[in-house]
């Protein structure tokens, strides 16, 4: 595929790897967090870790939209399908996330709930137009990448006078999550999680631009290299971070210049601002309550807000007590440090959210990287 294969070229990767190895200082380690699940997936799928010298370690961040979705929110979507007889439309990833009472949206579907996979919120609109007698709810999840399409769908519903369409908004914000990690006691005070820099989001940054990261770089002295989702993008960004660390710099650099500008997509930002406003608090799975980290629908669009329309309350649900997803999402622990990993928690029967999506740190490691820690597999595969 043109414009894709160029970014998956093994020969070029070898040259970038050689540069990284040559520039890494022997007297220190480099710990970089890739925020996005898309990067986690690329690192695992293309075996990027094999190319990195031992001194460079990647920490998988919380940027997997499915992983940070709290159980209580999935419960809400399930209640809409099973108790309110709504047609719940959502992205495929969301279906297998374990919820309360042993349910998931997939299991709710098997119990007769109308749950539909859509590729775009416009598909949900079409379903609403086709079923005027049914309530149709788009279960909207994701970071800034998926927010503009939700906003556009909502505006289109109003234009088309679709009175049976609403949105359950669980959209979250990247900058607040990064701040939360940088403010967490492990990173800030104890220094138990040395973080030397961030591989910045790809698609999110297309929408919000590179400017929002300038604050972290300056305030927390952490270099950021925004990278595309292809494997060479990630490796080039790692090289840029190594160079910044070596030079003692903490700047926002942009490897993904073919798509990301400093100010981002302002038309998209305007549509989002028209429809959404900040929530003062929102629970993230693994991170807990993060202030001003999510979006809700503005009161003037309340008719399209499923929470208002169905008068829904939010009931938080704690994770399994041995589940380490929270610590893994904050970079404090690795998947293999969790007792449940590869034993009772596998991609076939996920306990925690990091095992659900192939972008999740645990699922990515289980599916693609397990041969590096054979002992765990021997137990699990028996």
């Amino acid at each position: 595929m043109k414009y894709i294969d160029e970014f998956r070229d093994g020969a070029v990767a070898q040259r970038v790897a050689a540069r990284i190895a040559a520039e890494v200082r022997p007297d220190r380690t480099y710990r970089f967090m890739e925020f996005c699940g898309g990067h986690t997936h690329a690192i695992a799928r293309y075996g990027i870790a094999e190319w990195l010298p031992p001194a460079v370690r990647m920490i998988h961040g919380p940027g997997c939209p499915v992983c940070v979705l709290p159980i209580g929110r999935i419960d809400q979507a399930i209640r809409l399908a099973l108790e309110r007889d709504a047609i719940v439309c959502t992205y495929g990833d969301t279906l297998r996330v374990p919820a309360s009472a042993g349910l998931s949206l997939l299991k709710a579907k098997a119990r007769g709930g109308a749950v539909r996979i859509v590729y775009s919120p416009t598909d949900a609109l079409r379903i609403a137009a086709e079923h005027p007698q049914r309530e149709v709810v788009f279960f909207a999840i994701g970071f800034e990448t998926t927010t503009p399409p939700t906003a556009l769908a909502l505006l289109a519903a109003r234009r088309q006078r679709l009175e049976n369409f609403s949105v359950l908004s669980c959209h979250v914000l990247t900058p607040s999550a990064i701040t939360h990690i940088l403010e967490s006691p492990e990173v800030r005070d104890y220094g138990s999680v040395p973080l030397d820099g961030f591989v910045g989001p790809a698609h999110v940054s297309i929408v919000i631009g590179s400017r929002p990261y300038e604050h972290f770089a300056e305030e927390y002295r952490k270099p950021v290299a925004i990278a595309g989702f292809e494997p060479l993008d990630v490796m080039q960004a790692i090289l840029m971070l190594v160079r910044q660390v070596n030079a003692g710099r903490a700047d926002v650099e942009n490897e993904f210049t073919r798509a990301v500008t400093r100010d981002g997509n302002q038309a998209a930002q305007a549509v989002v601002a028209q429809v959404f406003e900040l929530r003062s608090r929102f629970e993230w799975r693994g991170l807990g309550e993060v202030p001003y980290s999510a979006l809700k629908i503005r009161p003037q669009y309340a008719a399209y807000d499923a929470e208002a329309r169905f008068d829904m309350d939010y009931r938080p649900v704690p994770d399994h007590k041995s589940c380490e997803c929270g610590a893994i999402l904050r970079g404090v622990k690795r998947p293999v440090d969790c007792k449940l990993f590869g034993t009772v928690c596998t991609p076939d029967s996920p306990m925690g959210s990091c095992m659900v999506s192939s972008e999740g740190a645990c699922a990515a490691h289980y599916s693609y990287g397990r041969f590096r820690d054979i002992a765990i597999v021997a137990e699990a595969g028996a």
Binding site: I4, D9, Y46, I48, D93, S357, S367, R370, G381
Partner: protein
Amino acid sequence: MKDGYVRPIDLRDGRVDMNHGAGGRAAAQLVEELFVRAFDNPYLRQGNDGALLPVAAELLDGGRLVMACDGHVVAPIFFPGGDLGALSVHGTLNDVAMLGARPLYLAASFILEEGYPLADLARVVESMGAAARAARVPIVAGDTKVVERGKGDGVFIATTGVGVVPRGREIGGARARPGDAVLLSGTIGEHGVAVLSKRESLEFETTIESDSAALHDLVAALLAAAPEGAVHVLRDPTRGGLATTLNEIARQSGVGIRLSEAAIPVKPQVDAACELLGLDPLYVANEGKLVALVDPAAADAVLAAMRADSLGRDSCRIGVVIEDEHRFVQMDTRFGGRRVIDWLSGEQLPRIC
């Protein structure tokens, strides 16, 4: 009154109704005018509840019977490059052929949904008859049931196939050995992408057609090119794709498999569709491909024979069987890294980010 006149069933505008499954005159007429006509062969013409069949020569010489069955419920029923009817013939013939067998007979059971257009049913049944004739394997017995509207999905077809393997031929999923060459008969992912392209809510334009095909001639050709015993495993990577099939073999045989991504052929259109939908072609279904795990000494000869067959033109060597108590399927990526090719968890779902 015209003696002996029976009004033919309306294959243009008619629809399946409950009478067609009730065992009365309407049911008999449907069988007679549609199924028997499309599948016509002497065994079916016997007109009994079962078919009386001659014994194959191999069986008198220590050969063994192979029997396989497969239910076909694909949606949509018509897709680019095929339909449910042809697929229900190919799928079962391939299951029989993967044991190194020569397929002899097929039987088919139809579950029809009330209201299904008879014109569409006729297309499916005729396509099935054509596929069976092309494969030179007669459909010798059948059954039809009708379920109420809403209790089926148009047409379900379950087929059973019977074949024979000659004495001494041992091919099976548990017989892979370290050192075996892993051969693949062509490009992967076409069937899955062709079907997905016609799914409601996902429709996209593609020139990709399903690879649905009967593989027993290819199997016969590749077996003829190798000394008896050199072909250890044959399997068609259908649901779950190549990745799932290789994991099954690794588990059954207690071995590992090491693949080279660069050697696995994928058509650019399939690659592009998968990229767009967030799918991995390794996990996408095929209906006309096989993998052969072969003694390395015979691999070149087998590969040449596969390439000489029209269904194996793009055959290639994609990896090797290794010793591995953990039974991993691993792949050297084109990018230069290495990763595990794991079992698929549930259905392959698109990623959103």
